[in-house]
Amino acid sequence: MSDNSLLPGESDKFPVIKFVSISVITLVIVSPLFLLVVASLKPDRFQILAEMGSFKAFWVSNPTVQNYLDILTFSGNQPFARYLLNSVFILVATLAGGMLFNSMAAFVLACGGIKGRTLVLTLMIGLYIVPQESIVLPLLNIMNKIGLTDTFAAQILPFWASPLYIFLLYQFFSQIPRDLYDAAVVDGASPFEIYWKVFIPVSLPALATVAILMGIESWNQYLWPLLVTQSNSAKPIAVGIAGFFGADSTYWNLAMAASVVMMAPVLGFYLMFQKWFVSSVISSGVKG
């Protein structure tokens, strides 16, 4: 890794000041997340609000997991455990179909000999500037007409293919030496065999990148499920949490525990695969 700020033979003039300032900034940036976790362990919303304005916001003298028990067992208007399961199911189904469809298409576009693949590729690249926001209402109309509103299918099927992910994988597959493909053809492998036995095993970093992006996208979906779900049986976690914001009073204790639960798996994956997360984010930037 190059280090552009300091050149060889040059001494750092303010190492302590730099270290202290970055420490303070990092602390300030991270403190809201810390506050979230601490507040979620407080017994009720009144204590959370009462202690918000002092240093007690960052400390809990009487920690309890009651909020967590409440959201995970409560089955009334906000069955949070149900939302959580819904989100997990949507995530897994989206990933399973999405990884397969996107990578198969990208493989054919990158290496196949089928007619019209340049046309398909051009169309895909053209489509990825279409913002999701501008197609959701016509899409809702389609779902209405085919009777898929308020289902898991409506939240999974549209995400089984995406121009962005196809393009990212296409770019990666294009860089794999052609010899590898040709050698497999010589050995008599069919396109699917080449894809499955040759390309997939050497593409794990690219697949991981796309899986992370797709997973985060699915987990955080808000606008689309807000439109397409009505009942608790299909609502995902993000829409469920938004339901804690009431007209009169917000159940901060429950909202906070729910937020921690929503964030925990992402954080876990992030801590395990930090490098891949960061590279995923960089590569998602090609979307314009």
């Binding site: 700020s5 917000t250 901060w252 314009g288």
Partner: protein, 301 residues
């Protein structure tokens, strides 16, 4: 066919039930069907729907020409929403990108625990916007939220508590703050990649020419980041114009439309108001805005 022969001509394979091109077709098909049905079709439909009086509830549909566009473009609330996202963009782009660049410059230096700082500073970027709304909704609490307490403390109680999200003048800046906090990590890592792609020779040369820290930034780093800057600013601008989730959860566009946005307006008209035709006109306008910004990117790079 299906008799693949190696260069030696010795290899013979049993007949396959599908020719290679047919197999490729079948591999490409699922993704194409999904994209065609759930992206291309609704996209293409938005244009004709925007010329009708269609509603989400099925009923006879009538062609109304440009009436929806006229209705949207003469609605002061739409202009307020468009003005708001413009205002939001003008605030969030410099704040978010500027902070991201500053942080990238800091963690690109020799620092103890550099990887720890990098990992910690990226945490907000992996936080879902819904969770961000829960956190910042509390921070902005009126009148006893942490932000108000800190301000009261710093000013010795001179500045009274502010209803951040509930006052017209402060609602949008408050949204800017939480949005920038959530998203700057993305720009930070992109800037970091940009910084690391600047060749060290240039810094060496600048040092030989006697350039100090500022001189090196001004004449090496800044020009070296030109492409990164264009990229980051365009992406951030496009995202800013699509502002929705935090608005929908925290303010619903209020107070008095001061945080209403184009997407929230579309949501109100099309989903709450069920006027699909009208909302499609807004969707087309949104698409044209995003398209224009994307073309700007192509023109500048």
């Amino acid at each position: 066919m299906s008799l693949h022969q190696g260069p030696t001509g010795a290899l013979q394979r049993p007949k396959r039930w599908l020719k290679p091109r047919q197999q490729e077709f079948l591999m490409l098909l699922p993704a194409c069907v999904v994209v065609a049905l759930f992206l291309l079709l609704p996209f293409l439909m938005s244009f004709p729907i925007s010329l009708t009086n269609e509603r989400l509830i099925p009923r006879p549909v009538k062609f109304v020409g440009l009436k929806n566009y006229i209705e949207v473009l003469t609605d002061p609330v739409f202009w307020q929403a468009l003005w708001n996202v413009t205002r939001f963009t003008a605030m969030v782009v410099p704040v978010q990108c500027g902070f991201a660049l500053a942080m990238a410059l800091m963690i690109n230096q020799k620092l103890p625990f550099r990887n720890f700082f990098r990992g910690a500073l990226f945490l907000p970027a992996i936080t879902s916007m819904t969770v961000v709304c829960v956190i910042w909704g509390t921070l902005f609490q009126f009148p006893t939220g942490p932000l108000n307490q800190i301000i009261g403390f710093v000013t010795f109680g001179m500045a009274g508590p502010v209803d951040w999200l509930g006052t017209e003048s402060s609602s949008m800046p408050a949204i800017v703050l939480l949005s920038a906090w959530q998203a700057y990590g993305f720009q930070m890592v992109v800037y970091l990649a940009g910084l690391q792609s600047i060749p060290n020779d240039l810094y060496e040369a600048a040092r030989l020419d006697g350039a100090k820290t500022w001189g090196r930034f001004r004449y090496v780093t800044w020009p070296g980041l030109r492409q990164t800057n264009i990229f980051v600013i365009i992406i951030t601008t496009i995202q800013a114009f699509k502002l929705f989730t935090q608005i929908n959860i925290l303010t619903q566009g209020g107070p008095r439309d001061s945080t209403n946005t184009v997407v929230q307006y579309m949501y109100n008209v099309g989903f709450v108001g069920q006027k699909l035709g009208l909302a499609s006109a807004v969707a087309v306008i949104l698409f044209l805005i995003v398209l224009a910004i994307s073309l700007l990117r192509n023109a500048t790079s």
